[in-house]
């Protein structure tokens, strides 16, 4: 096959590209330039869109012995991922831009362009595995290395996208990938893993949003209330909060019972943030919208859901209701925010995903 290997400049995508070549594919390395102005986005070695990262990717391609190009997807990335990220926070929700990027950029804009240019597939360094199911469909499964598994952020891919995807690292634990990179003479072998959101410098979401949202922020401050409506403090904008957040509330007074308080609700219009004890975060049901199915659409499914990247699995009963998904959690989950993705699993297999639009809190007994 003719394969485009998306190369971020990190160790995983470099080894993935090398393995695709070893597997006999005709591989071309492509670094995606996602930042309109690299200086304004993250700088340093942790991001995915700095000049150093492009150079690291280029050097890896040299060592592997494949052609290498930079594709400019900065406009698409800005429109589909960065703008969406800001809109979601402005609306009081908590988006996951990595899923969005996979759905709209890596396995859409890049894949479409690759197919049109005569390639057959896109390979990435995601930790996930693909198998052919009994029904002939391509199935997406968790990676062997549970700690690195990234099937969650791929839960937005449909069958058409999965058919043209390669994840060469899914069967290997991360330390082995690093060792392999070193054996192959790839200089990125000991490059630190990337974390957080690639376009937010230093992982300071609130600071980034404050600067970028500007006039688009729904409010520039408001009250932090307890559940009885007593004002406990003020804040500089609801976009700095996410449901389940505990740190950074800067409440002067401790709770009367001395227990930590968590964000329970965010109301962007009035600018009100409500806090309370952890047990009031407990959720036993979710509504998901914009479902994306990896294969055939289930009616009802007894399986598990994962509600954040590297989050735990929750046993769940999932029902498709029209355009939406109803998820009943058999054990309560805590700190679940609208905007997050619920990825649905049947064992190790990813069934699909939906964006959480509403949560049902456990009623106090």
């Amino acid at each position: 096959m003719r394969v485009v290997a998306a190369m971020s400049g990190g160790v995983d995508s470099a080894v993935a590209a090398a393995r695709a070549k070893d597997a006999g594919h005709d591989v071309t390395g492509v670094h995606l330039a996602l930042s309109r102005n690299p200086a304004s986005y993250r700088s340093g070695a942790r991001g995915c869109c700095t000049i150093e990262d492009a150079n690291d990717a280029r050097r890896a391609a040299d060592v592997i012995g494949i052609p290498f190009y930079v594709w400019d997807l900065s406009d698409r990335f800005h429109e589909d991922v960065v703008e969406d990220f800001m809109d979601e926070y402005a609306a009081g929700r908590t988006p996951n831009p990595c899923l969005r990027c996979n759905e709209r950029i890596k396995f859409a804009a890049v894949l479409d362009r690759a197919l049109a240019l005569g390639f057959d597939a896109v390979a990435t360094g995601h930790y996930a595995t693909l198998r052919e199911g009994d029904d002939g469909l391509v199935e997406l499964h968790r990676a062997v290395d549970g700690a690195k598994d990234q099937s969650y952020v791929l839960g937005v891919l449909d069958q058409g996208q999965l058919r043209h995807s390669l994840f060469p690292l899914g069967d290997t634990p991360k330390p082995q990938v690093r060792a392999e990179a070193a054996e192959r003479g790839l200089l990125v072998a000991d490059k630190p893993d990337s974390h957080d959101i690639c376009f937010v410098a230093d992982g300071d979401n609130a600071g980034w949003l404050r600067e970028k949202l500007g006039d688009r922020a729904p409010n520039s401050g408001g009250a932090i209330l307890d559940e009885a409506g007593v004002e406990l403090g003020r804040h500089d904008g609801t976009y700095a909060f996410t449901i389940g957040q505990r740190k950074g509330l800067r409440l002067g007074r401790p709770a009367p019972d001395g227990r930590p308080r968590f964000v329970l609700d965010i109301e962007p219009v009035s600018g009100t943030v409500t806090v309370g004890p952890r047990e009031h975060l407990a959720v036993d049901g979710l509504t998901g919208i914009r479902p994306r199915w990896c294969g055939s659409v289930p009616d009802v499914l007894e399986g598990t859901v994962q509600l954040r990247a590297h989050g735990e699995e929750h046993r769940a009963r999932v029902a498709v209701v029209g355009d939406a998904v109803d998820i009943e959690l058999l054990d309560p989950a805590y700190g679940i925010a609208p905007g997050q993705a619920a990825v649905i699993y049947d064992g190790s297999r990813v069934v699909g995903s939906a964006t959480i639009s509403a949560t049902r809190r456990v009623q106090a007994a």
Binding site: A33, P38, A54, P67, V70, R76, R113, A116, L117
Partner: protein
């Protein structure tokens, strides 16, 4: 793997000619610092000075006017900053620099720096649809306040679309007000006739690797009377304007290449001009809606560089097209600078009045001394299918 490489990117760099390789290789085996006083030093110095004389003879200047540098970018920096500083220190009113919007980044970025850090006021004068400076605009800009103009910098030939600038007219207009003129002739020497004295210019940049010499050697030709403030200080090897141990082997190779390129220029222009005509005709036949950008092809060497063909392919991303051609061993350029890792639409095309989509759909094919009919034919065979494919990808990307 590809059978052979079809190199159509001579404006980026061109293969070294055997005469330059021989001259350089000979010097690699020798010892001697051209500033040393003993026999070995004198021998090296002689090579440097003979090279200087060779280059002076070829480009129509006096040997003492040739200042060796590391290449075109350094020559441009030295000319712009060095002349600006000396002119302004002679008269603090001289803060304006007049140039065009189609200059090379070595010029534009130097001027931007002078603007940001040194209080220069840079005016980019308009060019016409072919990329040629509108001389009336220059006349007006100088005439508005001649005493405030530190210098004028207008390239001899454009690196992207190959358009030749009216350097003599620029000189005439500027000299009427006593304003010095710098010209970046990096693309021009060896491709079209360049005579420094006849042009009247006060400073001229050239480089070795665009005409069959080595990378890393170039020169700023500047009139003896012109004050140029040094950028690089040290031994003062080059008239105290530029310091650094003379790069004897590179200078020897550079001189050999300049001598040969200038001597062969008339035949080069005819031969490469004919190849370029074949290329453009063939591409327009294979892709009827492709558009030739820049000045007229004929008469060869009158309006644009003989080896330059710059075409837009509507509906294509230049990047996609470049990649598809590269996969077939055909090497060309999108002509755009890769700024900060992200390809930018060409400032030259934009200055010529094209929109960003046109700029992004363009490719530069540049022929040179080693180009053959086979090279052109390989491109003509590939261009139709590649454009078709790139168009499909262009649609997919939207």
């Amino acid at each position: 793997m590809t059978a052979r490489t079809v190199y159509l990117d001579h404006a980026a760099t061109t293969p070294m000619v055997p005469a330059a390789i021989e001259a350089m290789t000979r010097e690699f085996a020798e010892v001697g610092n051209a500033s040393s006083l003993h026999a070995s030093g004198r021998r090296a110095r002689r090579v440097v000075e003979e090279s200087r004389e060779t280059i002076a003879e070829a480009v129509g200047c006096r040997p003492g006017e040739v200042v060796f540098t590391s290449g075109g970018t350094e020559s441009d920096n030295l000319a712009l900053k060095g002349i600006f500083w000396s002119r302004r220190s002679a008269d603090p009113r001289r803060t304006r620099i007049l140039t065009t919007g189609v200059e090379h980044h070595a010029v534009l970025d130097s001027l931007h720096w002078l603007e940001e850090r040194e209080g220069a006021q840079v005016e980019q004068l308009p060019v016409d649809r072919t990329g040629r400076l509108q001389v009336d605009a220059l006349r007006d800009a100088i005439g508005r306040d001649p005493d405030s103009v530190a210098l004028v910098s207008v390239m001899w030939a454009n690196n992207e679309v190959g358009t030749l600038q009216p350097v003599s007219e620029v000189v005439e207009v500027a000299h009427a007000h006593g304003v010095p003129v710098h010209t970046d002739a990096v693309q021009a020497v060896g491709a079209v006739p360049v005579d420094f004295a006849a042009s009247g210019a006060d400073a001229l940049s050239l480089t070795g690797h665009k005409l069959g010499g080595p990378v890393g050697a170039g020169a700023l030709v500047c009139r003896r009377e012109l004050e140029v403030t040094a950028l690089v200080h040290g031994g003062g090897q080059e008239r105290d304007i530029r310091s650094g141990t003379s790069a004897t082997p590179a200078i020897a190779g550079f001189a050999a290449a300049v001598e040969l390129a200038v001597k062969q220029q008339p035949e080069y222009a005819v031969r490469v001009g004919a190849l370029r005509q074949r290329l453009v005709d063939g591409v327009l036949r294979a892709v009827p809606d492709a558009v030739l950008n820049g000045a007229a092809l004929e008469p060869v060497g009158a309006h644009r560089l003989p080896g330059n063909a710059h075409l837009s392919f509507p509906g294509c991303e230049g990047d996609s097209l470049l990649m598809l051609l590269d996969a077939r061993g055909i090497e060309c350029s999108t002509g755009s600078a890769c700024s900060a890792g992200v390809p930018q639409a060409s400032h030259v095309l934009i200055a010529m009045g094209h929109d960003e989509a046109t700029a992004r759909s363009s490719l530069r094919f540049s022929l040179g001394h080693s180009s053959t009919e086979g090279d052109v034919d390989a491109l003509l065979e590939a261009i139709g299918p590649c454009v078709e494919r790139a168009r499909a990808a262009g649609v997919a990307a939207r």
